[in-house]
Structures are given as C-alpha cells and as structure tokens.
Symmetry: C2
Subunit: 317 residues, 2 copies
C-alpha cells in the first residue's frame, strides 16, 4: 500500500503528477483539511506537502496527530511555525536553491521591464500611437543599466544570482544582509544605507517574522524619485500600503512585483497603477526549476517514509 | 554666424537641444527637405544629421550641392547609400558603440519578457483572474534561462554585450557572423546551423543589402516550436510576412521586436498576435546612451566644420 501524503495547499494537478506515481495523495485543493477529509483520514496522515507561504501553525498541525514531516514545495517555509513543528517532533523540509536561478531571472525580468517601460512600449506599438507619431511622455529616455546602482537586500542563493546577472549588465552592485560575505560587491551595514545608495532595490531576503514590513515608507523615501523596487521574496517584507502611497505620489519611480501580502490578491489600489509590472508569483515557475524542486520533495518524502532524516531539511527547524 | 546643419529625419526637439546650442538647425521634421526649405536654403547646407535607418540615396543627396557630411545619430547607417556619398566626396559619420549596452539591454528585456510571458502575467494579475484562481494556459511553466541555447546573429559590439549578459544567466551561447572571433562561445559557420541549434535567436547583425530578409521562413522553421526570435537590429533583416505566418501557426513560440520593416508602422497582422512583445525602436533610448551618441555627433560635426576628418567615420564609407 502506498504511503499517504496530504496536499495542504492548492497546487495544479499537473505539478502533483510525479508524486502521485509514488504516494497516495490526499488533496485538500487548498481548502481546510477538516472540511475535505474525515478526522479518521487525517489521523492517519504522517507527511504533508505544502507551499512554504501557506500559514501552517500549531493548531493546524494538531489536526494530524501522527504528522512527522512537513515538506515545502520550493525554497520558502515562512508559513510554517518552526517552533511548533520542532516541539511536536515534526521534521520540516524544503527545496533549497532548486529555484534560485528561476527566481533571480524573474527579478531581472521585472527590473528590466519596469525600468525600460516595456508594458507601455508594447501598448504604444499595438495601439497604433507609434504609427500615428503620438507623443508619449512615458516613452521618454530613461536611465539604463550601465553604471546603475543595484541594491540587493538578502545575499542567499537568489541574491547572489541576481548580483552576478546585474554585474554582467555593467551595473554597480551593493548589498545588505545580516552577514558580510567575501563577494566582489559593496556591503552596506543597514538597509537604510543601501536604500540611500541604490536606484533599484531588489528584495531577495528570506521572509519571516523579523523581516515583516522592513521595507516601509522610510526605506521607500530613501530609494527616491528615480528609484525602483523589485520584490521576488514574499509580500510580507514590504508594507504594501506604504508602497501604494509611494508609487501613487511618485516618491519612487516604479516597482516590479512577483509577490504580495495576501496572495493571490493584489489590492486594487496597487493594480490600478501604471508604473508597476506585476507577475502572479511565478518566480520559481520554470520547467527546470519545477523538476529540481520536485526532486527535492521526492527525496524528502522517500527518506521520511524510510525512517531517515530529511536530506533537504530546513536548517533552523 | 553659426554653421548650419540640416535635420533630415524626425527627431524629438529635446534630443536636438544640445546641437542647437552650437549650430543653426534647419529642421525638416522628417518631411521632404524640398517641401520645408527653399532651394536657396538647401543650396547652403554643408552638413546634415539623420537617423541611420532613414533612406538617403543619390537623388536626396543631390538636393544639397554643397553637402560634405552626413552624420547619423546612432550606430546604424543602413539608410545611407554609401557609394553615392563616396562618389560625391560626402563623409559619413555615426556613433559606433555609443548605444551598444542600451541596445543589448533591450534585447535582454525582450527575451525575458517574451520567454517568461510578462505581458500575460501582468494582465493576469491586473484583471483579477489570478485572485479568482482562473486557470491560464498561457501561465504554464516555461523553459528558463539556465542551459537555454541562445544564438547570437552578428558579433559586433551589441552582439558581444548580449552574449556576455546571456552567459551570466547560465545559458549556453553560440553565434554566427562573417568572421570567427577569439570568444568563449560556440561558433556556427551558417545562420541555418545556428537556428537549428538555438532556442532563442538574437538578431544583432549590422543591416544592409546583404542581410535583407536573411531571417526567412526556412530559418524560422529551423528555430522551431520552442523557439523565440528577438530583433533589435533592423526590420529589413527579417521577412516580416514570414514572421507573421510563423508566429500565427506556432512554427515558433514567440518573438520580441524593437524594429520593423516600415517604421513607425508595425503591421496589424503582427500587432494582433499575443505571443509577441513589442517596443517602438527604443533600443538605444536611454539617457546615457543619448549622451554618448550626442557626443559622437558633436565631435563629428565640429571636426567637419573645422575641415578635419570625422573622428567617428563609417569605416566602409
């Protein structure tokens, strides 16, 4: 009999196909597990698969008395209460680095699309305004990449890949993170100092309680009227109301956002703005990144059911 | 009395401001010079400023009996009949390399925007479809950059900058050009072989009679159903009708286009397609690139009026 794995978050069926070959999946479709399955069924669940951003606290864990492993699809695990898991002897796993290049690439895509105004450009051509020689103030020349100061907030695997890519664009790269690393980029000891210095702030920090709303009105003011914000980490890192205000009154020039405070909802006050490029949390969403993330999930689940430690365990768990 | 310079193409006034400080500008606004100025005025013209893509043949040159210098704003000079200029002792100048980074960056922007489907993504968020969990076949995972094969057609300054950027994205880079260079990228002896090999074809070749419609139906078929075409060179290099057909019947997956056969017109059959990202020839359109191009124009015009050779002369002229 196949081992059972509860699917805690809402995932497309196509993404679950590889797991269904090896395990019996109890798929909640993102609904509360208690509404979809009987207490009896939940009582037998020993492992679950979740999206790292889905809230998963002590109360939810206690619905599954035999739960021994929470496996996150992707690198993030900010929704999982790690203390609650540890105190219940539940191992927590994820897919470290598997999607780093894919996420770094969406950061670059959003930065370039925003600073070069590619949405406006595409519309200018499609609408016929270009052919009609209709002037467009939005199409005035903008600063380009050579010599541009890119500030990377968070120097994990994703941050490093963003930095390497920006350096190839002949930009200057600076960063702020808890630790200073042996890297060929200027280190800033505070996020404030980084925001004062840079014209694009790339948010690639690991999200958690200590980074909640760290990018606030003050940081955005320091980024300044020529500044752009790109967030591919988690919506929680940014004070979204302060961001809407800063974009509306031109405190900053624009933003590229793959993540939002309450996904899949992007507030209407935000989506009405012309100086933002949006993506529906597709940072890790490439074919090779899914293959790599799925390999981590399979390795974690297989090890767990064989009674071994998770090969891709969350380190701080 | 300031030296007179005829402005042959249509340029925004803001771009001409630096020149107006030094020269008396006779601005045609892109209209036929004979309609805007008297034969007497044209007879006094010794230098003109043009967009390299604007057709400028023997007949047009003969409107200006005293013409001694044609200065192109930007790197391209494909519209200028170089033989006709040479036989009339007219020097031809341009701005080599001044916009190379800016153009390479729009190539990267178009490639990323197209392959990661950023227009669809932005619309998916703004429309509320994401919040409503409405499935979108266009948002399925796509191949990313690591390991992707990027084919660069033309290894001038722009091609080299594109190649260096793509390498930072962990992609494989190959190229075809008339000459093989000492570069760390795979050389292909024909465009056909490059198109067979790559999944993104970046067109960065210098345009001219010998590259007219070189990217034709056969090349697009070789690029294949997973393939993308990015053109930041000139519209003339691509058979636009063959491209519309290839995009419509999914012979190739998509395209990113900054240039078109008959600018500023992009044919309706092209602009109706969802799998293309358009830009209105803004490759060289950044602040620092304009500053650099204007410096070349000023240096060329100043030297000419001082009776010296153009410092940025077109080499084959």
């Amino acid at each position: 009999m196949a081992d059972k794995v509860l699917i805690y978050s809402r995932f497309p069926k196509s993404m679950m196909a590889r797991f269904a070959e090896r395990f019996e999946l109890l798929d909640t479709g993102g609904k509360p597990a208690g509404e979809v399955f009987s207490a009896d069924e939940l009582g037998g669940v020993r492992a679950m698969l979740t999206a790292g951003g889905s809230p998963l606290g002590a109360e939810a864990m206690d619905l599954f008395p035999k739960l021994g492993a929470i496996v996150c699809y992707g690198t993030g695990y900010d929704g999982v209460d790690l203390k609650a898991a540890a105190s219940r002897n539940i191992a927590v796993g994820h897919s470290p680095g598997a999607n780093a290049a894919s996420v770094a690439d969406i950061a670059m895509t959003l930065m370039l699309a925003t600073t070069r105004r590619i949405l406006v450009a595409d519309h200018y051509v499609r609408s016929g305004d270009w052919a009609a020689s209709k002037p467009s103030p939005m199409m005035r020349p903008q600063a380009g990449m050579p010599g541009r100061r890119i500030g990377v907030y968070g120097m994990g695997e994703i941050g490093r890949k963003i930095a390497a890519r920006c350096a190839a664009f002949e930009s200057e790269v600076g960063y702020f993170s808890r630790s200073k690393y042996d890297l060929p980029y200027q280190y800033f000891p505070t996020l404030e100092a980084l925001a004062d210095w840079c014209s694009v702030l790339m948010v690639s920090v690991r999200a958690g309680a200590e980074t909640q709303h760290v990018v606030n009105a003050d940081i955005l003011r320091r980024l300044g009227a020529d500044g752009y914000l790109v967030n591919i980490s988690r919506g929680s890192v940014i004070d979204e109301r302060a961001l809407v205000a800063a974009l509306s009154d031109k405190t900053i020039a624009g933003a590229g956002l793959d993540v939002f405070e309450t996904e899949p909802h992007a507030p209407g006050a935000l989506t009405a703005l012309p100086n933002v490029v949006f993506a529906p949390h597709i940072g890790g969403h490439t074919l090779e990144s899914h293959v790599a993330m799925q390999a981590c999930v399979l390795a974690n689940l297989t090890a767990f059911f064989e009674g071994k430690p998770l090969p891709y365990a969350v380190k701080s768990a």
